[in-house]
Amino acid sequence: MLAVETKGLTKRYKDLTAVDGLDLSVEQGELFSLLGVNGAGKTTTIRMLCCLSDPTEGEAYVMGKSCTSEKTEVKSLIGISPQDTAVSNRLTVKENLMFMCRVYGFDRKKSEERTAELIETFGMQKVENSRAKTLSGGWKRKLSIAMALIGEPKVLFLDEPTLGLDVLARRELWRTIESLKGKITIILTTHYMEEAEQLSDRIAIMIEGKTAALGTLSEIEKISGETGLENAFVAIAEGRMHK
């Protein structure tokens, strides 16, 4: 079974087509990146896959469940770390995680176990009793991802997880994301080329709501006739692809 599948997925807002007939297939355990400039349709795609927005046309499935007709089932299979950190600022790290445990219906014992497990996995022991608003950007992103993992999702959506972070915090977060690879399917959106290059099993380059190229890094380099993802991306975005 595919972790994520879209068939002709389309989202229109009045005159604007944000996502235009997107066809994707993501295998379980894969780290799949959606790469594109601002407004390429990455976040809209994530929103539709997370049941946060209904498609205008087409279908989207997560672990075989429809994102339009089986929303409750899909919501229990996914976790999302939105573009902003989306944490409760006056709650501590531990309280934020405990809160999400209760949202997923865990009892007290399981909540405490799961919270302790995630604090350890993300190395947050030294900040576990700090309020979220006092954390640095990097710690907040880690907390945000940990909160997305509370419900033991099959598919994790990371929407521009390193946006606005300094280089050290970004590298630290990459290591965190890499540690999750293979254990869970990850759909990552980013417009940082080196991030997609470093982390992804496969990459889809989105231009104006469409998939302009899809494959592994070497496949994309081959399609574009360029070396390195940034050069390949520019070539594809400018329509200079090798046929």
Binding site: C50, C51, L52, S53, D54, T72, K75, S76, I78, G79, I80, S81, P82, Q83, D84, T85, A86, V87, S88, N89, R90, L91, E95, F99, M100, R102, V103, Y104, G105, R131, M147, A148, G151
Partner: protein, 255 residues
């Protein structure tokens, strides 16, 4: 309901850790209670004012509830401005869980605020030598529950429809209108004419009237039950409208 309680618990923590909440929801009403008592003590005893402690305490309690409205709207509009609610939308939480999660903590805050106001008023009454009736205070506190829900309903609607900059501004208008037409700071019933008609047109007037009637253990239809019924009706309409608006907005956000 467990999810709603979890969200309530989160919201209570957020509120209790906001220093502004203490200043506006508790500090400001208590300061008004003290200032108005000083004012009352400075004017001739025979003057008919609403500043005698038995009339002032229920009025200030209603005034305090208006700040609960402000905080309800601020809490919701701030959550909406970020992506925290989006994260929750992607979980099994429903619109009902979220609405209950916003209303319940504010109701608890309103009850605690009311209790503190009346305890302070009781202490003041002992100091100035006009002891308040404990039965009257308890009756007034219970009477103020529908009123609290009414103001929370206002806050819910403003928080859902407006952003974190506009919502407090609109609440300030309600606070001004409520203070004025609610007869908190003057005896509206002694005004007559157009002024009294305007006061009677506003729900705030009935909040103060029913709370004051309960305080003086005046359980007549005209003084207590009819005003209470008006407040309860307004509370039911506003809370229902707030829930409906929240649900519609959530669907629009997810559209």
């Amino acid at each position: 309901m467990n999810r709603a309680f979890a969200f309530s618990s989160r919201n209570i923590r957020e509120l209790l850790r906001d220093p502004l909440g203490y200043i506006f929801c508790i500090g400001f009403p208590l300061i008004m209670l003290v200032i108005m008592t000083v004012l009352d003590q400075s004017i001739p005893k025979e003057a008919v004012t609403v500043f005698h402690i038995e009339k002032l305490a229920p009025g200030v309690a209603v005034f305090g509830q208006m700040f609960v409205m402000l905080f309800t709207s601020l809490n919701i509009s701030t959550d909406r401005s970020g992506t925290f609610l989006m994260r929750l939308y992607a979980t099994p939480m429903t619109a009902s869980d979220l609405t209950v999660g916003y209303v319940l903590p504010m109701l608890i805050v309103a009850v605690i605020q009311c209790l503190i106001t009346f305890v302070t008023a009781f202490i003041i009454s002992l100091i100035i030598g006009s002891t308040l009736s404990i039965a009257g205070m308890l009756a007034s506190m219970l009477t103020l529950i529908p009123s609290a829900l009414m103001f929370i309903g206002f806050g819910l609607i403003f928080g859902v429809l407006f952003n974190e900059k506009s919502a407090p501004g609109l609440c300030s208008i309600i606070i001004s209108l409520g203070g004025f037409f609610g007869g908190i700071w003057f005896d509206a019933e002694s005004t007559g004419g157009m002024m009294l008609k305007m006061c009677r047109f506003m729900p705030f007037f009935y909040c103060t009237r029913s709370a004051r009637a309960a305080m003086s253990l005046d359980f007549t239809a005209k003084g207590f039950f009819i005003p209470l019924l008006v407040v309860a009706g307004c509370a039911a309409v506003l809370i229902s409208l707030g829930c409906f608006t929240f649900s519609k907005k959530m669907k629009a956000d997810l559209g």
